[in-house]
Every structure is written in C-alpha cells, then in structure tokens.
Amino acid sequence: MEVSVSHEKNEIIVRFSGRMDTPGAQEIAPQMNALTEEADKTIILDCTDLTYISSSGLRIFLTFHKASLEKGGKVIIRNICNEIRNVFMMTGFLNLFEIQ
C-alpha cells in the first residue's frame, strides 16, 4: 500500500496505489488522520492505482467525508475500478461520495 499527497492551490490530491486492506489501511492511517486537519479544502482521493479496498479503507474515506462536512471542505473520489465500485455499492458509499 502506497500513498502520495500533493498540495495544490485549493486542493489536496491523495494518490493511492495497491491494496487498501486491513494492514494497508493501518499503515496509512496516521498520515490520513493528519490530512483531516485540512478538510476545509477540496481533497481529491485518486484511486486510479487502487486495486482493492476493505472496510478499513472505507473507514478512512468515511473519516475524510465526515471531516469535510464539519470543516466545509469537499471530498472527491476519482477513478475507481469495478471491484471497488462494487464494494461502494454494497456499503451505500456510492450515494455518500462525489465520484468522478
């Protein structure tokens, strides 16, 4: 599981790659928690290279979402593959997030 964060003018782009399974989510959790401080901005979660997600990963996304609602920011999920779209569907996340 790898993650890269790039700050631009008004938005933060977070690029995930690999499997966001339980250990993968645990690994990136501290970094992601730090990012919620900046939830007032637009956070783009780029999932182009993400192949798998489990509930632990979904929780990170949900945390971002809740934080942005609190701080008036915005969370956009970009480029999810079919498997992940399927998981989003099963959990109702498709309706929760703005997905590009």
């Binding site: 499997r19 399974d21 339980t22 250990p23 645990q26 798998y52 489990s54 509930s55 632990s56 979904l58 929780r59 949900l62 945390t63 979402h65 809740k66 609602l69 079919n82 498997e83 399927n86 998981v87 099963m90 959990t91 109702g92 309706n95 929760l96």
Partner: protein, 729 residues
C-alpha cells in the same frame, strides 16, 4: 529371455573351416610329396643312367681288353703260321703256343683250307686248355663228325677273307663250354687263303664280368650276339636258347622291344623303356666294337625306384599321421573351444538371469516419480543406484487412509542372495503394512518372520515410518538403520532408537518413536552406500557433505539428483562399493499453509497472506476474479473482526481458517481461542444513512453478510467458531 548369442560368432571354428583346413593341409602335403617324388625319380633315373653308362663303358672296356688280347694272340701268330704253311706238321705248335701264352684263350686251332695241302686234305690241330688242370691237350678237329669246313668260324672268314668273331656256341669237341671264336684267315705267299687261325674264348669270364655289374641289386646285364642270341644272362636257361626276338614275342610292349632290338642289332647305344611281364624296365645298351655284340643292362623300374618308392611310402605314412594329428588337435582345440563357449554362454546366461532378477527387483519397488502427482501435500522421490547388477537395498511407500507408509532397508551382503532377501523383505513390508497401522507392529512382525527362517544369518537394517498426511504426525520405528535426516529450519539427524536389525532376534522389542512434521519439513532417508561412498583416497562422503548437499529447498527429485551428482563427483574414478539408495519425503500438508487450511498468528499484518489462500480455494470452484476478490474481502473482514475484537490488543493467539470446498459452495470456518465474540450479534447498519449518521464500525460484518450467503457463529470448547458460506449457482 534367450541368451544373447550374437557375440558367440568368432569364437570357435566352424565345421566348414575345420574341414577346409584339413583338406588344404592334405593337398599341400600331397603336392609336396608328389613334387619330391617326381624330382627324386628324375634324379634317380639320371643317376641310374649315368651309372649304367659308366658300367657299360667299363664292361665294354673289359670285354675289349679280352677281345684285344685274343685278337692280338691270333694276329701275332699269323706270320709264324704263314711261315709254317709249307710244313704242315709244324703247324700244330701254333695253337699250342696261342693257348699257352694267352690265358684268355681256352682253345685254338689252325685249320687248313681243304685241299690246300696234298698230304692233309683236312688238317686242324686244336689245342685246348683243361679248365681244371690248366694243361694243354692237343686234339684234331679234322674228324668226320665235326666237319670243320662247314663250321661258321671257318666258313665266314674264308668266304670274306677277313677276321671274324663267331656267334657263341656250345663246343662239344674241344672245351665242352660256351665259347666264341675269333678267326683270322692265313694267306700264303700268293695271297691265297690257306688256313684259318682261331682262338676260342670261354663265355665264362664274360658271364663273370657281366655278372659283376650290379648297378642295382635286382638289375641284370645281358650280352647279345649280333644274331640276337643271348650270350650272357643271369637266367642260365635263357642263354643260347632264346633270342631277343623271342623276348619281344612274350612282351606286352613289342614295339619298344623291337626298337631295342633294332638298336642293339644295328650297334647303337642308348636307353629305352620296355614293358615286360607287367613291369617297366629301363634298358641301357651299348655295342661292343668289332664283335657285333651288344651289352645291355636291364633295370626294372621297380628296382630303380625302390628307394624312392620306399621314401614315398614313408612320406605317405607320415602324411596320414600328420593329417591324423591335425584332425586330433583340431578336435581337442574345438572341444576346448566348445568348453569355453559353453562357459561363456553359461556366464552370459547367469548375467542375463541376474539382469532379469534386477529387473524383477526394480519392478517391485515404486519408481514412477512423482508417485502422487495429484497430491499437494506431499512431494516424494526415491532412487536406487545399484553397485552390482542386483543389490540388497530397498525402499517402498504407499498411501492408505491418508497415511504414507514408507520404509528403507539395506540387506547385509551383496549380489543375488542379498537381492532375494531384499525381495522377501519388501514382500513382508507390504504384507504386514496392509493391515497394521503402526511402524512398531510392522517392524516386529517382519522381524519375527525373518528371524524364524534365517538359516543364512542374513539381516536387514530397516527404517519404517507412517506419516499422517493430515496432521503431520510421524510415527517411526528403526531397526538398526542409520538415522534419517530431518529438514526443518535446521538440518539434523532424526533421533532414533538403534534397536537391532531385522532377522537377528525373533523376540526383539522394537521401540516406536513419534514426531510431528510441519509444513515444508522434509525427511531424507538413505543407506550407508551414500555416507560411506569412498573416493580413491578412501575418504568417505560423510555426514557433513551430505548435510551440505541437502541445504536449500527444492523439489525432492532435484534433491536426489543433486546428491547423486555430488556423490559421483566426490567418488570420481573409484568403483561404487555399495548400493546407494535414497528416499526424500517433503511434507507440504497439515499444520499451516495447506491450500485449504491456514493458521495465522494474531496480527493483522498476516491478513496480507489471505489473497493467496483465497485464490487457491477460488480455483477449486473456478471463480472469476471479481468473485474471488469478494470472497477475499468477506474472509478478510471476518478475520479482521476476530483479530480486533476476540483478542485484546497485544495478546498472543491464533486464527485458524479451514476452507471447505463442496461442489459449488465455499465455506470458511474461522476458529480462534480468544474472548467470546459474536460478530453476527452486531446491529445491521443502514447503508442509506447520511454520512454524519453512519458509524465508523460495522462495515466489515456488513460486507461479510452482503457477500456471503450464510454467516453463523458458535462458541465451543472455549473457541469462537465463525462459519461463512457462499454458494455459487
């Protein structure tokens, strides 16, 4: 199987070759003897010819001596006779003198031509030498009975006026002997023939002379007069009674005899071949000057070639003996060769039988590798490299009731007896293990059978093991065999009770031992042919080289090949002293990562191992990637739940996952020994709720429920057991 006879060609001599050899030898010998015979014959003939010629010459010379003496005796008296013609009474002294002064002359006369003297119309005083006394008697030939003027010796020279040698004749008047007469006409002053002066010579001396010519023992000589009368001949009866013509009549070879006859009569010398009375005769002939006689030597071929015939006979006898020897020697040699061939065939047959025995022996032990290609939990390989054609090593294995029964053994001794015992051992192993389940029982029963009928005191070092493939439990019993090597994280000897080899003590109590094999553990069994393999310097391969060779994980077959190569490299040129037998058992079942079973320690990081496990299970029901991914997600959520809730953070524990694949359904049984925790008791979450209303937890079990068809929990034996099942249509 028929013995291979191809190589027999070239050994031994075929009957034809032997026959040919004898024939060639016979021809060579015969040709040699014929050549030798012909040349000897020719040489002998030449020599005989030379000898005959020289004999003839010398005989002729001797005859000529006598002839000359006789002629001289007569001639020397002619002038006296002429002188005495006028005084006929004095004439009688002349023959007297001729006889007395010439020893060769046996009689002499001077016979007046009838009517020459008035006083004596017939006058012929004859002086004869008495052969016994040597005295000279005076006789007169002028008798009525004798009628000398008609005699040849008188008539011929009177008629021709020349001297004349008479034909031989038997003189009854004078000497009562065979004689010839030399006559010379005596002329008076007017040149008229007045008287004939003669000298007689006996043919006795001629007979003696001719008889003395012995060119060869059975050869004989003849003197023939000019009319063909035989004068001298070893057969007395022929003398004067037969002419050469009569011989010719009797001969089967008239033509040749005629030839001789003519030649002889015409006074020529030479030689010819005459067939007479069934025999070939060489006749050498030569004329005697002036007398008209012919001297001949008759040499029967039989006689002439007697020597060479004898040699020829001897040679023939030797040839036959030689040939007989050759045949005998050939027979002896052939018999020996037959013996060798028989020995060779026997040897070949034995080797062949040993080879068959070896094949039978090899057919007994399983040697198709991998032996259980369908099994994921076992990788087994074995090999025997025999030192001799047949060895006394064995291994065997089979699976019954999910248990691997295996053994390795080494029979004392080598060769066929060892291989027989090996066959018996293997049969006993199969027989005993067919209904016995513990190595101790198998080994004890085998030992009992083998000790009972062990008259040759053969024994077998034996190791028998039973590996439970589901649990990894290994029970084993060692009967004097060298300890196997166990490969775990470490490489070390499996601890074994030495016990006694099989076949020594009937009531031996064998101790059984037990251990557990974990996933990826391996057992390497071998016979002392491996550890005691020697190089030229008599160093042994040894345990340290073996352990070195066993390092690293590879397929069992590769391990064996690698070890065999290392041993071959180590041994080099030294001959393989003992059978080299190896059995490699690589256990890939039970305790952990078998395809349908997984045990994870309590650590969420272990969840990373799940995708591989699930993939293997998914393959069994031929799931696509999305379904496999969902299955993985459900399992991950279930396991993560256990790790997060059943075990308080930091506590040790294990999560055991058993996948059960049944036709079109997949179940995971997740067991842990943590605190009681029922995930199904959790409230269902509302997935259509707004974000702020959604709890952080509960998503996992929601996913499990969504993906799987049934999710059930039970608490049993202080364990949480969660079973999740998905059925595919």
């Amino acid at each position: 199987m028929k013995p291979n006879r191809k190589e027999n060609k070239g050994i031994g001599m075929t009957l034809r070759a032997r026959l040919l050899l004898v024939v060639v030898a016979a021809i060579t010998l015969e040709a040699t003897s014929i050549i030798q015979y012909v040349y000897s014959q020719r040489g002998i003939k030449q020599e005989a010819s030379l000898r005959a010629e020289s004999e003839l010459k010398s005989a002729e010379n001797k005859i000529m001596d006598v002839v000359n003496q006789t002629e001289a005796a007569v001639r020397n008296s002619i002038w006296v006779a002429q002188w005495c013609l006028d005084y006929p009474d004095s004439l009688k002294r002349i023959p007297q003198r001729v006889v007395s002064e010439n020893p060769v002359v046996v009689g002499s006369t001077i016979a007046l031509v009838p009517g020459y003297d008035k006083k004596y119309p017939l006058y012929a005083p004859y002086a004869a030498q008495d052969m016994e006394t040597g005295k000279i008697r005076m006789l007169s030939l002028a008798t009525e009975e004798y009628d000398y003027p008609s005699m040849e010796w008188f008539a011929k020279p009177l008629e021709s006026g020349e001297s004349y040698w008479s034909e031989p004749y038997f003189d009854e008047n004078g000497g009562d002997m065979l004689m010839v007469t030399y006559s010379v006409p005596v002329k008076d002053r007017n040149g008229e023939v007045a008287a004939i002066l003669t000298a007689d010579i006996s043919l006795d001396w001629l007979t003696k002379l001719i008889g003395g010519i012995k060119v060869y023992p059975n050869a004989f000589s003849m003197v023939v007069s000019r009319s063909g009368q035989i004068m001298v001949c070893p057969v007395d009866t022929l003398v004067m009674n037969k002419t050469v013509d009569q011989f010719a009549l009797e001969s089967q070879d008239r033509e040749a005899l005629d030839r001789v006859n003519r030649a002889v009569l015409s006074g020529k010398s030479g030689e010819t071949l005459v067939r007479y009375k069934g025999q070939n005769n060489h006749v050498y002939y030569s004329p005697v000057e002036r007398t008209g006689w012919s001297l001949s030597i008759v040499l029967p071929d039989k006689e002439l070639y007697k020597g060479v015939r004898r040699i020829g006979l001897l040679v023939n006898v030797l040839q036959v003996l030689g040939l007989a020897m050759i045949i005998i020697i050939l027979r002896i040699v052939t018999r020996n060769q037959t013996k060798y061939r028989q020995l060779y065939e026997q040897k070949e047959r034995i080797e062949n039988e040993i080879h068959i025995a070896s094949e039978i022996q090899m057919a007994m032990i399983p040697k198709t590798f991998p032996p259980f290609p369908e099994r994921q939990d076992l990788d087994l390989a074995a090999s025997i490299i025999p030192a001799k054609e047949v060895g006394g090593d064995l291994y065997d294995f089979f699976i019954r009731d999910e248990k691997l029964y295996f053994c390795i053994g080494d029979v004392s001794g080598k060769g066929i007896p060892a291989s027989l015992v090996m066959a018996v051992t293997r049969s006993l192993f199969r027989a005993m293990s067919a209904h016995e389940t513990t190595p101790e029982r198998i080994v004890s029963l085998m030992n009992y059978s083998m000790s009972e009928a062990n008259e040759n005191n053969m024994f077998v070092t034996f190791f028998c093991g039973v590996l439970d493939l589901t649990t990894g439990q290994l029970r084993y019993c060692n009967a004097g065999h060298n300890p196997p090597v166990i490969l775990t994280d470490d490489i070390k000897e499996l601890p074994v009770e030495p016990n006694l080899p099989l076949g020594i003590l009937k009531d031996m109590k064998f101790v059984e031992q037990e251990t557990f094999l974990q996933y990826d553990d391996a057992l390497f069994l071998y016979t002392d042919g491996l550890s005691e393999a020697e190089n030229i310097a008599h160093e042994q391969f040894g345990d340290h080289r073996l352990k070195e060779a066993l390092r690293g994980r590879k397929r069992s077959e590769e391990h064996l090949k690698n070890i065999a190569q290392k041993v071959a490299l180590f041994v080099g040129e030294a001959p393989q002293s003992d059978d080299l037998t190896m059995l490699f058992i690589h256990y890939l079942g039970n305790a952990s990562q078998s395809s349908n079973h997984l045990t994870l320690p309590n650590d969420v990081k272990q969840i990373a191992l799940l995708p591989e496990f699930v993939d293997a299970v998914a393959k069994q029901v031929e799931l696509d990637q999305e379904a496999a991914s969902n299955l993985n997600l459900a399992l991950e959520e279930a396991v993560a739940n256990v790790m997060m809730y059943a075990y308080p953070e930091g506590t040790d524990g294990e999560v055991d996952i058993q996948a059960v694949v049944d036709g079109k359904s997949v179940s995971f049984v997740i067991t842990d020994s943590g605190a009681a925790f029922d995930p199904t008791a959790k409230e269902q979450i509302n997935i259509s709720a707004e974000a702020q209303d959604r709890p952080i937890g509960g998503l996992g079990i929601h996913l499990v429920r969504t993906i799987m068809d049934t999710v059930s929990y039970e608490r049993k034996d202080e364990k949480n057991i969660l079973t999740i099942t998905k059925t595919y249509k």
